[in-house]
């Protein structure tokens, strides 16, 4: 056998059945990997990359909410912002209470950087300057999760990020590592299936005023306990509010002050069973205390803080929760009333 060079040895190995097997194995591996990557990028079931050619399987309500805003007959004077915690805050009720037009611009996994980007977009590109923002959150909104890919990929909003979104090629390895697993592959299949048939009818949808179109969900303690892990995940590795997110909120306040916008910040409630377990498993108490101090002592007078962490604080119903972190419609109406009655 020739022993002259690496290349010569490689050619010799290729002449053997074992060598051909080995080359086929490596080549097949790269072909399968390329096919998988192509499927991930073309289907993009969670809209992580902004490259999908079919509808994503997850809610893409940043785009959807901006489209609804554009379609409004009059510019909203009050904007509701936040995460899915405030999806069911009703702009119509706000209008009744204040006599001002309102819109619910809350988005899935909404964080301070989302609120700032949406507000900047509305003011700078749509000339919508609201008088008041109502921002609902729970302490987990100030966690260490990276900026949501849907914000990084949103063609309208990404330019309003404090730091420009890195190009896809830079984000790709990290996103693949963070997201691609068996469930993700299943979601690629589901995404293709739903686009070929139709999306499930129980999918989250929104009214024209941005409020979630939802039915009354009876209180189910077992369901809340089963889904407790979702609440727990919000606080994973969190000992104090994330500094970058607090900074993003400060930037939002500064920007709002420049445009004479008042802000109501609402610490949203959780069911007692979720809260008591979180107090055991996480640092929620310390995180909430730090946020209370932040929103009361470190904010200008244009920011009003409403501490509705427990149902007692707004006279709510302990049985009116849809899951471990989302208040039911009745509680949401009471929260809305409490905010605007105080004005």
């Amino acid at each position: 056998m020739p022993q002259t060079s690496f290349y010569a040895r490689f050619r010799y190995a290729l002449a053997q059945a074992e060598g051909r097997f080995f080359v086929t194995l490596i080549a097949s591996f790269f072909i399968f990997a390329s096919l998988l990557l192509t499927a991930i990028l073309l289907v993009d079931p969670h809209e992580d990359f902004g490259t999908g050619i079919i509808a994503p399987i997850v809610l893409t309500n940043r785009t959807e909410k901006l489209e609804l805003l554009d379609a409004l007959p009059e510019k909203p004077e009050i904007l509701v912002m936040g995460s899915s915690r405030v999806f069911t805050m009703d702009p119509e009720q706000i209008t009744t209470l204040t006599d001002k037009s309102a819109f619910n611009a809350s988005v899935s996994y909404g964080r301070p950087e989302d609120h700032l980007a949406i507000l900047k977009f509305l003011i700078e590109e749509r000339q919508v300057i609201p008088e008041r923002l109502v921002i609902g959150f729970n302490a987990g909104a100030f966690n260490n999760d990276p900026i949501d890919p849907q914000l990084l990929n949103n063609k309208h909003l990404k330019k309003y990020l404090a730091d420009p979104a890195p190009p896809l090629i830079q984000r790709l390895p990290r996103t693949l590592k963070d997201k691609v697993n068996a469930s993700y592959i299943r979601d690629i299949g589901r995404s293709i299936f739903f686009s070929a048939t139709s999306m499930p009818t129980d999918r989250v949808s929104f009214f024209a005023n941005g409020m979630q179109d939802t039915l009354f969900v009876p209180y189910d303690e077992a369901k809340i306990l089963d889904n407790y892990y979702r609440a727990l995940a919000l606080f994973e590795g969190l000992n104090e509010p994330n500094w970058d997110r607090l900074e993003a909120f400060r930037a939002l306040v500064r920007y709002s002050m420049d445009h004479s916008i008042e802000i109501d910040v609402v610490l949203m409630p959780m069911p007692h069973i979720t809260r008591s377990q979180l107090e055991v498993d996480t640092n929620i108490t310390a995180i909430e205390d730090a946020l209370r101090e932040f929103f009361t002592d470190q904010m200008p007078s244009s920011v009003t803080f409403h501490d509705f962490a427990t149902t007692d604080a707004f006279g709510g119903d302990e049985q009116n929760f849809r899951d471990p972190t989302h208040a039911g419609i009745a509680n949401m109406r009471m929260i809305t009333t409490s905010i605007f009655e105080a004005l």
Binding site: Q3, E18, F22, T24, L25, S28, L36, K177, N181, A222
Partner: protein
């Protein structure tokens, strides 16, 4: 670094492998492989690479001194090696266990002396590499092996990353020919078998063992709430998990060895097909069983000194074998169970062998499974909880957290794994095809593993030993 991690599969291994074959000559390859192995080991905690180096230097030097001496002096030289290796093992692995056990003993007699309890980190794989280096010096002492004069060859042998942290326990005599011929031609013939074994091992670990572990680990976490159903599922699942985890690791180690042109000894031979406990120990963790037999059981007298002494020797060997797995009393109990079963088997073997083949296989599997209860549960209370739940035959409902999809995955996986473990040829027996279709199937299996192992890069069970 673990084999089922992206850093290993996509970065470390390709560089180590291509670099190895790109180099020519023995010494460059020894050095390259040794450096790669130290990097592999140091990735976990670089401070312990010093321990590996010290152990290597002591045994290399001691082994070269042994043939120069005779009689008592020769023994003394060997004693230096044993003292160094067992001393390291005793300090890092058993110091706190000994102190805790003494404290408990003193408390029993109403005494409460303050004994030192040190904050010692157990170096990964210490049980494996100390046993390897001890086998080297003992074999040299016994005249079975000529010590190598090449330090890099020996350093390469001690640190070989494919088997450094979780075996198999490779003796120098097993691979000395391969090491001596590390630069000779024709060794690429092993690539196809090596790659196939590695991927099969990875699949055993990622697809079967980790999937089953995902469901059963929570059951072991709180044995007080186990029902009959969950207790049986837990121990059946663990029986499967441990086998596929450890044998998967061994397959990967053997496969990696072949990819570097080194043939490591087989470590598993379908242990759940055993017909008695002796047979089981000829098939389970074979490199450890052989080590214990050659360096402990036989020196103790083996079976040459009558039935009682044989029984004692077996018991002692298994007790120490149990303790080798971890500094904890549950491993001692597990070793004692196996020692007792081995002794009983020896006594009744002529009669036992006349029993129905399938009865013997089922009985052996049941006994092994029963012993795993004490192996897996860290406390005696947990083991008792599990046993009482298993034999209460009270509650056969599924846990509420297992929906229909979970049940399909868990029981489907357990069924497939059982069929493989009980009836199919093992990964050492398989004739790996060189057809293109086999290569494509293995590539698909590899991609599947890479996807599945995201989020769940579970460390191998035997890393903790």
């Amino acid at each position: 670094m673990i084999f089922n991690s992206y850093i290993f599969l996509l970065v470390f291994f390709p560089i180590a492998w291509v670099g190895f074959w790109a180099l020519k000559g023995k010494q460059p390859r020894y050095i390259w492989l040794t450096l790669a192995s130290y990097l592999f080991y140091g990735y976990w905690d670089w401070r312990f690479t010093g321990l590996l180096l010290v152990s290597t230097m002591i045994d290399f030097y001691v082994a070269r001194q042994i043939p120069k001496h005779t009689g008592r002096n020769k023994k003394l030289v060997l004693f230096v090696s044993l003292l160094a290796n067992l001393g390291m093992l005793a300090f890092f692995k058993y110091f706190n266990f000994t102190v805790d056990s003494l404290q408990s003993l003193f408390r029993l007699f109403q005494l409460s002396p303050t004994l030192p309890n040190l904050d010692i980190i157990l170096p990964v794989g210490i049980s494996f590499f100390t046993f390897q280096t001890m086998s080297y010096t003992i074999d040299v002492y016994r005249g079975k092996l000529k010590p190598t004069n090449n330090f890099m060859e020996f350093a390469c042998y001690v640190s070989l990353f494919p088997q450094l942290v979780a075996g198999p326990i490779v003796r120098f005599s097993d691979i000395v020919d391969d090491l001596d011929n590390i630069d000779s031609g024709g060794r690429t013939q092993m690539f196809h078998r090596g790659a196939s074994m590695f991927i099969v091992g990875l699949a055993k670990k990622v697809i079967i063992a980790d999937t089953v572990a995902f469901f059963i680990n929570p059951l072991f976490a709180d044995t007080a709430v186990l029902t009959s159903m969950t207790a049986w599922v837990a121990i059946l699942g663990y029986t499967i998990q441990l086998y596929f985890d450890f044998s998967g690791y061994s397959d990967m180690a053997l496969g990696l060895g072949l990819l570097f042109g080194l043939k490591f000894p087989q470590n598993f031979h379908s242990p759940y097909k055993s017909v008695d406990i002796q047979d089981f120990w000829r098939r389970w963790h074979m490199s450890l069983s052989a080590w214990l037999k050659d360096y402990l059981y036989i020196p103790l007298g083996g079976s040459r000194k009558g039935d009682v002494r044989t029984f004692v020797n077996m018991g002692l060997t298994m007790l120490l074998g149990g303790l080798w797995h971890g500094a904890s009393w549950n491993f001692v109990v597990w070793g004692a169970i196996h020692g007792t079963l081995l002794g009983i088997t020896k006594l009744i073997k002529p009669w036992y062998d006349t029993l129905n083949y399938w009865f013997r296989r089922i009985l052996t599997l049941a006994l092994v499974m029963f012993a795993w209860i004490f192996f897996r549960n860290e406390t005696y209370t947990d083991s008792v909880n599990m046993l009482s739940a298993m034999f209460s035959f009270g509650n056969w409902t599924m846990p509420s957290t297992w929906n229909f999809e979970s049940q399909i995955i868990l029981f489907g996986m357990m069924l497939v794994a059982s069929l493989i473990a009980l009836f199919s040829p093992n990964s050492y027996e398989i004739t790996y095809s060189t057809k293109k279709s086999a290569a494509i199937a293995l590539a698909f299996l590899l991609i599947t593993c890479l996807v599945l192992m995201n989020y769940t890069q579970v460390v191998f069970l035997y890393y903790q030993f």
